[in-house]
Structures are given as structure tokens and as C-alpha cells.
């Protein structure tokens, strides 16, 4: 009767739950089988190609076919199936490369392949432009999100099969584009955005602070400018171009710019502020990329001010700096999400995983975006006009002190203001000394070659 019916209901519920879980299991086994099988030694893997059809990964690569250092520039980005590197395109997408499907089983001559958005030829030219210096560079289309260039030096030559593992420089096995670095003065972009968001353009333009080379802040500590004689009285556009530390220290201290506003804008842009919450990561086709983090405690505090100028405890990944440029260049305040895989072919040859452009959250207002864009374009016009002849470029450079000030990294981020060539980029040279190859030299190589490659093929 009623109680028996109740027991039957209980049994039905249990059976239904089991059915549901079982159906889910079958679905999951079906979809993840490629990943499972890629862990078996027997299965054959497909290739990875760049946007022009050049091979980026070949499971049976041979130095005699490709040339001994053919894969050097993308060694730690594309990686291989050896399991030495885990945060690489091949390692994260190995299930899609396996020549296998649940229905067909293993197929010896399957058509599984990944078609990347990279431009290997230009990538290589940029890699070579670094000369004997180390560093990293990344560039993408800020309208669509395709990553054209992504490299990190020192890299690893996968054709050596890790026999020289002990001789490799540290950092060879990771693509520095995805890992935190000290942003230096490039942080002033974020701080200027915060100020624009908080005060508005007109109020900010009226702020004028004086730089005399050294500024003693309200906490009593000295903030030095890189120009010992000082820049004199400046507005934000001039200070941005001069990269003037005393100006920004005074801006952070200003009563009209509450620290809370800076923190909130930073958080919207993806920073982890004061360890409050979880560190965010960007997902680039499975590759996990650091975003940014900083510590801002008190606006008169030396470290907080340094944090707003890209020193102190501030860390940002080069990828994230480039992605911010998309929100500026598009004048929307919304970032374009970058991706590396344009499409995938399955073992049977059918094309899937066609990449689609996607966007992030609103980080700052459109108005702010267009004003910071103006400020950056002004800087580009005055100081970096030779990067790409005939086209306006918005730029911010930076110098980051690392290892307790013993070394200085040189950084450059920016965007090309041309709807037919919408490139945002970020370049870092490690431990640069004056007179060596500069970030703008590399940017020049990158933009001119990329322009040639993209616009001639289009």
C-alpha cells in the first residue's frame, strides 16, 4: 500500500540516479577516450601545423628532414609527447592529436591534426632577432584573438630528446609568456586606467605634479626618478611618456584617487589584490597562463606606490599585458580572448573545434579605453614612430628591476592602430644592458615581418 509504494519510489529514484550516472559515464568515456589512448604507447599521433601549413609538431620528427634546430623557437610552447613539459599545446591537447576515435579504434594513418594560428616563419625571425639575449615575445590579433607569435628564449630543442637536460639554462622548459614577471613601468598603464576610471579624464588632465628627480612621499621614503635632474611640472600624458615615478607616486597619494578605486579597477582587470581570493588564470586552449597579482595596502606606503609603478610585489604575465592592449585598442574596455588553435581535424578527417572569437568581461569603461588609447598613441607618435612606417602605434615601455635590482628587464607592450593590421604585442628582454638589442628593435622586426606575412597572403 502507501508504504510499499513509498519504498518503490525510493527504489525508482535510486535506479534513475544510477541510470543517469551510467549515461554520463558512457558519454565521458566516449569523449575522453582519445586522451586515455594517448597514454598508451601504441597509438600514433597527428601533426600540429601553423597557419601556413608548416609543421610545428611531428611525433617522429627527424633532424635530417627538418633541419637540426627547426623546432627551436617553439620548443617550449608547442612541446612534444615526451611528458617532460606539461603546460604546452601538445601536452594539453594530446587527446585531440591521437589517431583514434571510440568508434574506429586506433587508426594507423588517421587524419588527426591541430591547425595552429601561429606564424612559424615570423616567429623564427623574431626569435633570431633576440640575438644572444633571452626573453619572450607574444603578438595577437586584438580583433579575433589569433595568436601569431609566441616564443620564449631560452628554448629547448625537442629534436635533442632532452639528452642535454642538465646543460639547459633554467627556464628553458617553460614558455615565459604564460608566467609571472615584474612589469616595471608598464604597470603605469593599469594605474592610469584606474585614475581615469576613478576621476574621469578632465579631472585627471588637470592634475599637475612636479618631479625634481627625487620625491619624498607622505610616508617619508624617497622615490627616485630615472632622470636625476627631474622632469619638472607635467600632466598625465607627459608623465606617461616620461615614465616619471615621482608623478605617479603623487598621483597615488592624491586625495581624489582613493586606494579602494585602484584596487577595484585592478581586480576587474584580473589582478589578485592582497592575496584576497584565488589567483586567476587564462586558459589558452588548455595552456594555463598567469594573469596578474599585486599588493596594495596603504596609499602613503612606499611598497604600495612602487606596486602601482610595477615594482614591489606586482607580477603580471606578458600574455596578460598583451591582452589588456586589446581592450584599449578596441576602445571597448573588453578584452579579446587569445587562442592558439584555429581548428582541429579528427581521425576521420572531419573538421571540428573551429575557433571562435570570444571576449572577456568589461574591465573598464569605453571612455577610459579611448582616453588611455590616446595617451599611448601620443607616446608612440613621439617616441616610437619608426616601429612600423606609416602606421600609428600605441606603446608603453618599461624597465623592471629583478633579483634585488641586480638585473634590469626591458619590456614593451602596445598595439597597432590599423583595422587591417590589428596587432597587440608584448616583448620582454631579460637582463638588458644599454647598447644591446632593444625591445623596439625586436618590435620592429616583429611588426614589419608580420605585416608582410599577413597582408601579402590576404
Amino acid at each position: 500500500m502507501k508504504s510499499i509504494r513509498r519504498v518503490q519510489k525510493l527504489m525508482t529514484a535510486m535506479l534513475l540516479i544510477f541510470f543517469g550516472a551510467f549515461a554520463f559515464l558512457i558519454y565521458r568515456l566516449q569523449t575522453e577516450a582519445g586522451f586515455y589512448i594517448s597514454n598508451a604507447s601504441s597509438v600514433s599521433l597527428g601533426f600540429v601545423y601553423d597557419r601556413n601549413g608548416e609543421v610545428l609538431f611531428d611525433p617522429d620528427a627527424d633532424a635530417q628532414v627538418y633541419g637540426s634546430d627547426y623546432f627551436l623557437d617553439i620548443g617550449n610552447l608547442i612541446g612534444d609527447n615526451s611528458g617532460q613539459m606539461s603546460n604546452t599545446l601538445v601536452a594539453k591537447n594530446i587527446g585531440k592529436l591521437a589517431n583514434f576515435s571510440f568508434m574506429l579504434g586506433e587508426v594507423e594513418d588517421g587524419k588527426s591534426a591541430i591547425y595552429s594560428t601561429l606564424d612559424h616563419k615570423v616567429n623564427r625571425e623574431v626569435y633570431d632577432a633576440f640575438g644572444n639575449k633571452d626573453g619572450c615575445a607574444v603578438a595577437y590579433n586584438y580583433q579575433t584573438g589569433e595568436i601569431y607569435i609566441c616564443l620564449s628564449k631560452p628554448s629547448v630543442n625537442i629534436l635533442n630528446h632532452y639528452e642535454d637536460l642538465n646543460e639547459l639554462k633554467s627556464g628553458s622548459l617553460m614558455c615565459k609568456v604564460f608566467y609571472p614577471t615584474v612589469p616595471g613601468s608598464m604597470q603605469k598603464i593599469s594605474t592610469t586606467i584606474s585614475a581615469l576610471e576613478s576621476m574621469g579624464y578632465d579631472a585627471l588632465m588637470q592634475k599637475r605634479f612636479t618631479c625634481e628627480g627625487i620625491y619624498t612621499n607622505l610616508g617619508g621614503k624617497e622615490i627616485k626618478c630615472h632622470l636625476a635632474t627631474g622632469h619638472g611640472e607635467q600632466n598625465i600624458t607627459e608623465a606617461f611618456a616620461n615614465s616619471c615615478n615621482p608623478f605617479f607616486a603623487q598621483l597615488v597619494e592624491d586625495v581624489n584617487l582613493p586606494l579602494y578605486d585602484i584596487q577595484r579597477t585592478y581586480e576587474k582587470m584580473g589582478y589578485l589584490v592582497n592575496g584576497d581570493g584565488n589567483q586567476k588564470y587564462l586558459n589558452i586552449n588548455g595552456i594555463s597562463a598567469f594573469t596578474a597579482s599585486t599588493t596594495l595596502t596603504d596609499k602613503t606606503d612606499f611598497n604600495t606606490q612602487w606596486g602601482c609603478m610595477g615594482q614591489g610585489e606586482t607580477l603580471v604575465s606578458p600574455l596578460q599585458m598583451m591582452v589588456w592592449q586589446s581592450a584599449v585598442a578596441n576602445q571597448t574596455g573588453i578584452s579579446t580572448n587569445p587562442y592558439l588553435i584555429s581548428h582541429i581535424t579528427k581521425v576521420s578527417g572531419t573538421v571540428t573545434g573551429q575557433a571562435e572569437t570570444s571576449f572577456g568581461n568589461q574591465m573598464f569603461s569605453e571612455e577610459t579605453a579611448s582616453h588611455i588609447r590616446e595617451i599611448m598613441l601620443e607616446n608612440g607618435k613621439n617616441n616610437y614612430s619608426t616601429l612600423l612606417t606609416g602606421t600609428a602605434v600605441g606603446v608603453k615601455s618599461g624597465t623592471a628591476q629583478v633579483e634585488n635590482g641586480n638585473k634590469e628587464n626591458s619590456l614593451l607592450t602596445g598595439f597597432v592602430d590599423d583595422p587591417s593590421f590589428p596587432i597587440a604585442f608584448c616583448i620582454q628582454i631579460d637582463d638588458r644592458v644599454k647598447g644591446e638589442v632593444s625591445t623596439s628593435d625586436i618590435a620592429k622586426v616583429m611588426l614589419q615581418n608580420l605585416h608582410e606575412s599577413l597582408c601579402s597572403s590576404a
Binding site: M1, K2, S3, I4, S101, M103, L104, K346, S348, T350, T352
Partner: protein, 157 residues
């Protein structure tokens, strides 16, 4: 969808003919076995119902609620009457105790047993503690009245 079909076609064309026929046949036969079992269970459950009618003397309880006659088939060998929502036959009259009485069956004879109710259990207007029931008997729990009656023929299938 078309890619699944094309993969299916590739799989099927890749198999050898006996493999394919056999795999399909085995699956179909197992399915048919399952279906035949389910049909057999259906027949068995009809049989069990018939047997239960014999055991329970094919009786049901009837009561009137707002001029409608409600039928309660007796489908377990122990049936609890009461006001509580978990009782097998719920009587929403305040004079009925939460667990008022229980009816049990052995060999086609139903027995009603009072569960120390406040207002008492009456069979044909006689207060009882335990009594065997016959078809047509009237059971009164407090103010609620129930009749024990044969089930109508059309419900017998």
C-alpha cells in the same frame, strides 16, 4: 550529427562481414531476451495479482467523502488506518487517532485490530479490540465510516 554517421559508416565498412553480423546478432538477441523477460514479468505480475485477490478475498474498503464514494483496494497484508499522512489509508477526521487501527489478512479473512485509539474502533456499531471481518461489515473509527465490500468486476481485468 553527419560526422557521427560518417564515422559509423567507416567503422562498419572496416569490420569484416561475419564480425559485423555476429556482433549485431548477439546484441539483438540479448535485447530480445531482455524484452521477453520483461513481458514474462508482466504475465507473472498478472498471475500474482490474481493470487493476491484470492489471498485477500478480493475485498476493498469504501468510504464517503463529500458525497463521493472513495475505493481503497487492499494491496498489502497489513494496512494501517489513521489520521497521519503516512498511514496507508488516511482519514482526515479529527476524531480519528493518528494511528488508529490496523487490518491484517490470513487465508482470505481480514482482521481489524485497534491500536489503543482514543475514540475506539467499532465494527457494526460494536466496540472491538480485535475482530474478524466479513464482506459488508461497517468499520467506524471515531466519526469516520468504512465499508468492507467485494471489488467491482470491471476492475478485475
Amino acid at each position: 550529427m553527419p560526422e557521427i554517421l560518417s564515422e559509423l559508416w567507416q567503422m562498419l565498412s572496416g569490420l569484416q562481414v561475419p564480425d559485423l553480423v555476429l556482433s549485431a546478432a548477439a546484441v539483438v538477441i540479448l535485447d530480445m531476451f531482455a524484452i521477453s523477460v520483461i513481458l514474462a514479468v508482466g504475465r507473472e505480475s498478472t498471475l500474482c495479482r490474481k493470487r493476491w485477490r484470492k489471498v485477500s478475498a478480493n475485498l476493498e474498503l469504501r468510504r464517503k467523502e463529500e458525497k463521493k464514494e472513495i475505493h481503497h483496494p487492499l494491496e498489502a497484508d497489513e494496512i494501517l488506518l489513521g489520521r497521519h499522512s503516512s498511514a496507508d489509508i488516511q482519514l482526515k477526521d479529527p476524531s480519528v487517532s493518528r494511528y488508529h487501527a490496523v487490518m491484517t489478512v490470513t487465508g482470505g479473512i481480514w482482521t481489524v485490530t485497534d491500536l489503543n485509539s482514543k475514540s475506539g474502533t467499532f465494527v457494526n456499531d460494536q466496540r472491538v479490540r480485535q475482530k474478524k471481518l466479513a464482506p459488508g461489515d461497517c468499520i467506524r473509527l471515531g466519526n469516520a465510516k468504512l465499508w468492507l465490500a467485494k471489488r467491482p468486476a470491471e476492475q478485475e481485468e
